[in-house]
Amino acid sequence: MRSAVVDHPLDPTALLAEVASTSSGASTLFVGTVRRVNDGKDVTGIDYSAYGPMAEAELATIVAEAAARFGTERIAVEHRVGTLTLGEASIVIAVSHARRAAAMDAQRYLIEEIKKRVPVWKREHYADGSREWVDPTAVPA
């Protein structure tokens, strides 16, 4: 298993190949990408920033939890930081497992825990030139 915070474009195919194995019956890939519209606003790009050492530590902890809980070490996760344009991948999660249900369960566990716990922030750029830090805990206006 491997996880990293990186500042270059992500390569989903490489992560899928990294976890593949002839002892696996199923592999899953999750790719999070910059979406054109969020909360009704026209997004043109996103700055991702991280508290580097803690983000790497927390990612590694979550991956180890998933490995223990779902029974596979064949997990690779990369989170990108920096300025991303529309359609670019901010996170890639690859999981390979003997059994498909466990591969999918691990995939979901990983993305949900990463969203909750890894110290990464994003500032969206909007078409009107404004920028805003995204706060998932904020009450919708």
Partner: protein
């Protein structure tokens, strides 16, 4: 004691710095860090952060010692 605390995202932007020096009572706990940070924010509308001590989330009653790496963690939005 005086403690340097790391800032990120909306907090770093609002305070115009990657870290701030806070004055804390002796034998401070995480709750004291939060209180001093909120005082420093001075009423700016910032989201309530968590506190990390040495790269791990810490509870309000966790003690903070000189040499610890302490950071304010605004609501995360990765993935």
């Amino acid at each position: 004691m005086e403690l340097d605390v790391l800032l990120f995202a909306s907090w770093a932007e609002a305070l115009g710095a990657q870290q701030v020096r806070l004055s804390l009572p002796s034998e401070p706990r995480v709750a004291d860090v939060l209180a001093a940070a909120e005082a420093r924010a001075g009423g700016r509308p910032l989201p309530r952060p968590l506190v990390a001590v040495n790269h791990r989330y810490a509870k309000p009653d966790t003690p903070v010692r000189a040499g610890d790496e302490v950071a304010l963690i605004p609501p995360v939005a990765g993935g």
